[in-house]
């Protein structure tokens, strides 16, 4: 009987380890350990043994069973591993096949540039302000110290809706200064982006409709040094820390002193190159201290309050930001253009 058990063990282990599939393994299990299996058959003969032999044989039989069961478990794990390996192999994909397209839309590059600017100013406590494009000449000109006779009021420059030149398409976002002064509590910090209109034929750098962003601060003790400080901060956030700026005297009817701000050419670092037309500087915006007349017209006491304002052309900023060479692309809205941003 001992020989029988040992034979079962030997053959069983062989069959189990050589079982190449789950089915073969199961067949082996049934063959040796099943109810009608060989081991069971041997055990059934246990009763015929001598009582003295039984314990030893019983123990041996249990060891054989245990060994076979162990072997089956091990083989089963191995087979499962092999099967998984095969499955993974079978499921292998050509990962270079393009993904299923998910089309996410694109923000217009102009508004990408605008949003960057908005975020910077919001961080400095500015409120974003919106206002009408069909505007009173009073707000667009008179209240901004551009009196009757100022060239920008000409019908050759500005679009009008009535013969009296009373209602017009705003030619700048600056009337938002007036609207803010008229409606907001002091102190004021606003940023007012929007569409503006001038009678320019369409070409690579002109459009009868374009966008400006107006910024304004009115508070006690506001100085030109503050204007420089704020704009420098903005420029550093837009173009990186350490970006150099320069301020030049200029003229706007509604600021005094007035200035234009240049940013050192990022391309050549100020040496002069085609990007900056050899000047080393790129004009970014116009600004200045709000003209006392403008404050007075809004009923603001210039002995207590002062302020600064700036205006920036959004198209030019976006064009520079994305190296867009022709303004017409901005308004053409070709998706091959739009989807680049």
């Amino acid at each position: 009987m001992k020989e029988q058990l040992e034979l079962i063990l030997k053959q069983g282990l062989e069959e189990i380890t050589s079982a190449g599939s789950k089915d073969a393994l199961e067949a082996a299990r049934i063959k040796y350990l099943g109810k009608k299996g060989e081991l069971t058959a041997v055990l059934k003969m246990m009763g015929k043994l001598d009582a003295s032999e039984r314990p030893a044989m019983g123990q041996l039989a249990n060891e054989v069973r245990a060994q076979l069961e162990n072997a089956i478990d091990t083989a089963s794990v191995k087979l499962a591993e092999a099967a998984l390996e095969q499955q993974l192999l079978d499921e292998t994909l050509d990962v270079t096949i393009p993904g299923t397209p998910v089309n996410v839309g694109h923000k217009h590059p102009m508004y990408v540039a605008l949003d960057e600017l908005k975020e910077i100013f919001i961080g400095m406590g500015f409120t974003i302000l919106d206002g009408p494009e069909v505007e009173l000449a009073t707000n667009n000109f008179d209240r901004l110290n551009a009196e009757e006779g100022h060239p920008s009021r000409d019908w050759s420059d500005t679009f009008y809706f009535d013969e009296d030149s009373r209602v017009m398409l705003r030619s700048q976002t600056s009337p938002m200064q007036v609207r803010a002064m008229d409606t907001m509590e002091l102190p004021i910090r606003i940023l007012a982006p929007g569409r503006v209109y001038r009678k320019d034929e369409v070409d690579a750098t002109h459009s009868p409709m374009f966008h400006q962003v107006e910024g304004m601060v009115i508070d006690k003790n506001i100085t030109m040094a503050d204007l420089k400080g704020t704009l420098n901060t903005v420029v550093e956030q837009l173009y990186g820390k350490g970006t150099k700026t320069r301020f030049r005297p200029h003229h706007f009817p509604f600021t005094e002193p007035s200035c234009e701000m240049d940013v050192q050419c990022h391309k050549c670092g100020g040496v002069g190159c085609p990007t900056c037309k050899g000047e080393g500087w790129i004009e970014l915006l116009g600004a200045g201290m709000i003209h006392p007349k403008v404050l007075e017209m809004a009923g603001i006491d210039t002995n207590v309050y002062s302020g600064w304002a700036f205006g920036i052309g959004l198209e030019r900023m976006a064009m520079r930001r994305f190296k867009i060479a022709d303004l017409r692309l901005i308004f053409e809205n070709d998706i091959r253009f739009l989807e680049q941003f």
């Binding site: 089309n103 996410v104 839309g105 694109h106 923000k107 217009h108 908005k118 100013f121 406590g125 500015f126 409120t127 974003i128 009408p132 494009e133 069909v134 009173l136 006779g149 060239p151 000409d154 019908w155 050759s156 679009f159 009008y160 809706f161 013969e163 209602v167 102190p187 569409r195 209109y197 009678k199 009868p208 409709m209 601060v217 003790n221 506001i222 100085t223 030109m224 040094a225 503050d226 420089k228 400080g229 420098n232 320069r246 030049r248 005297p249 200029h250 003229h251 005094e256 002193p257 007035s258 200035c259 201290m289 006392p292 007349k293 308004f331 053409e332 809205n333 070709d334 091959r336 739009l338």
Partner: protein, 896 residues
């Protein structure tokens, strides 16, 4: 405004190079647009003198010249020009030289003969006859150059000999000798067959051995014009050739100073508040202040002394004093019209002004120097010796110097004599009083006119001139007198005429300088600086302000300075904008951010992009015909638009009351560009009548548009549902819209939230697509931003997740085709008894098994109770009730 640096040197000595000068001036407030070295393109061109001249052996029209260019050996140059003679001083472009226009000259061979450069004509040096009037070339007809137009019938026989008659008094003659007498003037010995004649000629192309046509009657050698010949008959006898110099120079000299090309020109952008800087003197003052250098101004001195009395000869009236604050005039008698001297021509040319004649050049010179436009009249044509500065009569006509006939009105100011207008004040003179070659007596006008009047007139007549551009900015009335004196001084300096004693000077205003208080602490307070009072005074005095104690007297040419802030700018300019410190704003902090409206705007953009839509920006103005294109009825009241009275063109002439045409235009453009699919959106404004103060009601529309294989009605509807879902809008419903003329009547819906109409969407009407020339299906949506904002729901509040499982039931019902899914869904919801949590359409079927005119519609129902697990019986009871309502309300019966 251009500035000749040589001219500037007369007033202030600045040694900085162009780049540094440009930078310094820009930073002190005079923005430099660019600088130009006038002679930058001319290199290695020198003065040469012709030593000898011989015919080219292999050419009948070329000369081989030996030229002294100040080197040991003369250089040999071959030229095709015929106006050169031994002894002539000429510009020589040497081997490896450059000329204007990027021309490069190198040595080479011309018909086998070495030529080591080129002799230059005026045009090759970038000049013309107006720059050097003396260099005009007169060409004789050389008979040897004659080419008959019809070879069969030559007008001049090829074998013509000296003495042969050509016609009338004209005979052939042979040049036996040519000897220069003075510049452009030759003693010529002619053989006329019988005898030798010696005559003087100013024809510059004569050489010994030439056969010419000699007019025995006038004693002159004939030009082409004299012979009535065409140029092609004498191809080489042209009034062009080498520029024979008549300047103080010697062989070897660089040509640039000789022809005034050694100047540098700086171009300024002058802001409209600084008309004083539209002059050399104004810029010199700025330059002197910028460099803290001495400004050397000159007071004109006029000798006068012409016979007669100015006041007897001329009378000036200014009946409209408000339009003519000042009128100054002087007279010059016995003028000799001729070219102005080289220095003046060079300065004018450097400033971009073409020399014309001495009198005109003087007016231009003074305008540039003083910034004061001048005008010169021919006194002969000032009828009655009377100048009246008056408003034009309505419809009065005047032919201006440029030949244009101008019809005037009473808003325009004219210079008139007793009978008629002779000039358009401040803009352009009249043709009837123009300075001409035989002008004898000249009136110089130096006046100050009302800027607005001049600007409006120039604009109305479309004739903005250099003078009007200056006047319209408002000129200094104190400048008229020095300017007219300067003009007269120049007349005397140039020997161009005799100046009459006295000036007519009418002042229609009381000169009253602006006086401001110097408040250094306020200025520092505004600038954020700490500039000393002494420095402030220095800065102000450097640009002509007079400071007495704390009183600042503003100079007459600085009408822009009216208050403390203006003085602050003057101080800042010369203290240096870039020396102003950089500080951060103090004071109360403010809360920045987006308004609730802007938050929703931003969110809508995000949603649209999330759905694959690209953002576009379209013009707010459209053509009125666009309303036709979208098939709005002629009497549709939405056509009432803000109309621009002075549009650029019809296409941009009214403010849109709908965003649809803008979207369709962009869709069409992309379609025409063969972009296969497009999904576009814009949060665009529309402009309707009836706003406050006569302004527009500007509302925003979320405009969406798409075409392509990934778009159809239900996809667009799904996107709209997604957007409304994100906004948490409630009670959304869609109603078919058959009446919108722009949309397909069977594929258009209005979307509501409760009773609020949010907008319309659907497929664009095929006829509208046709109007845009497109055969594809366009899908558009127009959603009112105000409505979206209004229906935006409350912020989310957590509802417990279901604890008990739901039961699903699929039902399919058969109903008439006309019954809508919406009606069926409504019936289902109505029939449910509180357990229905979801209805989902999953199939619509027509065809086999379903009777004609009917359809089978299948729904997936989800039923659930919040407090227990549903039993099958409970669910079935609900479904039964639903089916009953479906049958009752919609005639829909369960599909067998």
């Amino acid at each position: 405004m251009n500035l000749s640096r040589k001219w500037l040197d007369e007033f202030v000595r600045i040694t900085a190079n162009d780049k540094d000068f440009a930078e310094a001036m820009t930073l002190s407030g005079s923005k430099v647009e660019g600088t130009e070295d006038l002679g930058t393109e001319i290199n290695n061109v020198v003065v040469g003198q012709i030593v000898s001249l011989e015919h080219h052996p292999d050419s009948d029209h070329m000369w081989i010249c030996q030229i002294n260019i100040g080197e040991e050996e003369p250089v040999q140059i071959v030229t095709g020009a015929w106006n050169v003679h031994v002894g002539d001083i000429v510009p020589v472009a040497k081997h490896k030289s450059t000329l204007p226009g990027g021309v490069k000259i190198e040595k080479g061979k011309l018909r086998g003969v070495k030529s080591n450069g080129m002799l230059c004509g005026l045009s090759e040096l970038g000049l013309d006859e107006r720059d050097f009037p003396y260099a005009v070339i007169k060409a004789a007809a050389i008979l040897g150059d004659y080419k008959a137009i019809d070879p069969e019938k030559p007008s001049i026989p090829a074998d013509i000999q000296a003495g042969h008659k050509i016609y009338g008094p004209v005979v052939a003659a042979k040049v036996a000798g040519v000897e220069p007498l003075c510049y452009g003037c030759f003693r010529v010995v002619l053989e006329t067959g019988k005898e030798n004649l010696t005559i003087e000629s100013d024809c510059m192309n004569l050489h010994e051995g030439d056969m010419v046509a000699y007019n025995t009657k006038s004693g002159t050698i004939c030009t082409l014009a004299d012979l009535h010949a065409e140029q092609r008959e004498f191809p080489h006898c042209i009034e062009d050739g080498i520029f024979i110099l008549n300047e103080d120079c010697k062989p070897g000299d660089d040509i640039k100073p000789v022809i005034g090309m050694d100047d540098h020109v700086v171009e300024f952008e002058i802001t409209p508040n600084r008309p004083d800087c539209l002059s050399i003197i104004g810029l010199a003052r700025e330059a002197a202040a910028t460099y803290n250098a001495e400004l050397k101004l000159h007071t004109p001195v006029v000798k006068g002394g012409a016979e007669g009395s100015l006041f007897e000869l001329l009378d000036v009236e200014t009946p409209d004093p408000e339009l003519c604050p000042r009128y100054s005039a002087r007279m010059v008698k016995n003028v000799k019209i001729g070219p102005s001297p080289k220095w003046m021509r060079e300065r004018l040319r450097a400033m971009g002004v073409r020399p014309i004649n001495n009198i005109v050049d003087i007016t231009n010179y003074v305008m540039l120097e003083y910034g004061q436009p001048m005008h010169a009249f021919d006194y002969r044509y000032v009828n009655g010796g009377k100048i009246i500065v008056r408003r034009a009569a309505e419809g009065e006509e005047l032919t201006t110097l440029d030949g244009g006939v101008r019809t005037l009105n009473s808003n325009m100011l004219v210079i008139a004599d007793q009978d008629r207008a002779v000039g358009l004040a401040g803009i352009m003179g009249g043709l009837n009083s123009e300075i001409v070659d035989d002008t004898v007596d000249v009136v110089f006008e130096s006046a100050c006119f009302d800027g607005t009047c001049i600007r409006k007139t120039a604009l109305a007549l479309g004739m903005r001139t250099e003078a009007s551009a200056k006047f319209e900015k408002g000129l200094d009335p104190m400048n008229t007198l020095p300017a007219v004196d300067r003009a007269c001084e120049l007349v005397e300096m140039l020997g161009a005429g005799e100046v009459l004693e006295g000036v007519i000077d009418i002042l229609n205003f009381v000169p009253q300088p602006t006086v401001l208080k110097l408040e250094p602490e306020k200025i520092n307070g505004l600038l954020g600086t700490d500039v000393s009072a002494e420095d402030m005074v220095k800065y102000l005095e450097n640009v002509g302000f007079v400071v007495e104690g704390d009183q600042v007297i503003v100079p007459s040419w600085r009408a822009d300075v009216q208050a403390m802030a203006d003085l602050a700018e003057e101080v800042a300019r010369f203290y240096g904008y870039n020396n102003i410190p950089i500080t951060l704003m103090r004071g109360e902090t403010t809360q920045g951010g987006y308004s609730p409206i802007q938050v929703v705007e931003n969110r809508l953009g995000e949603l649209a992009r999330g759905c694959g839509f690209d953002e576009i920006i379209t013009y707010s103005f459209i053509s009125p015909t666009y309303y036709d294109k979208i098939r709005w009825a002629a009497d549709d009241e939405r056509r009432a638009s803000f109309k621009i009275l002075n549009p650029l063109g019809e296409d941009t002439s009214i403010m849109r009351t709908t965003v649809l045409p803008s979207m369709l235009e962009i869709l069409t453009r992309n379609y025409n560009y063969r972009n296969k699919n497009a999904k576009l959106y814009e949060l665009g404004r529309i402009y309707k009548m009836g706003g406050e103060d006569g302004l527009a009601v500007e509302s925003k529309i979320l405009s969406m548009g798409a075409y392509g294989d990934d778009m159809d009605f239900f996809k667009l509807k799904g996107i709209i549902e997604a957007i409304l879902g994100d906004l948490r809008a409630e009670e959304i419903r869609f109603e078919p819209c058959t009446s919108n003329p722009s949309y397909h009547p069977g594929r258009c819906a209005e979307v509501y939230a409760g009773d609020t109409l949010i907008g319309v969407f659907g497929q664009i009407h095929p006829l509208v697509s046709k109007n845009y020339g497109v055969d594809a299906a366009f899908y558009c949506a127009e959603l009112s931003f105000d409505a979206l904002l209004a229906v935006k729901g409350q912020d989310a509040e957590y509802k417990p997740l279901p604890k008990f499982p739901s039961v699903t039931r699929d039902i399919a019902v058969v109903c008439d085709n006309a019954v809508t899914v919406g009606q069926l869904e409504a019936a289902i919801k109505k029939g449910a008894k509180g357990l229905l949590k979801g209805v989902k359409l999953f199939d619509i079927y027509q065809g086999k098994g379903v009777p004609e005119g009917k359809k089978s519609v299948a729904f997936n129902l989800v039923l659930r109770a919040d407090d227990r697990s549903l039993t099958g019986e409970e669910a079935d009871a609900d479904v039964k009730s639903i089916l009953e309502v479906l049958a009752a309300d919609c005639g829909a019966v369960i599909r067998a």
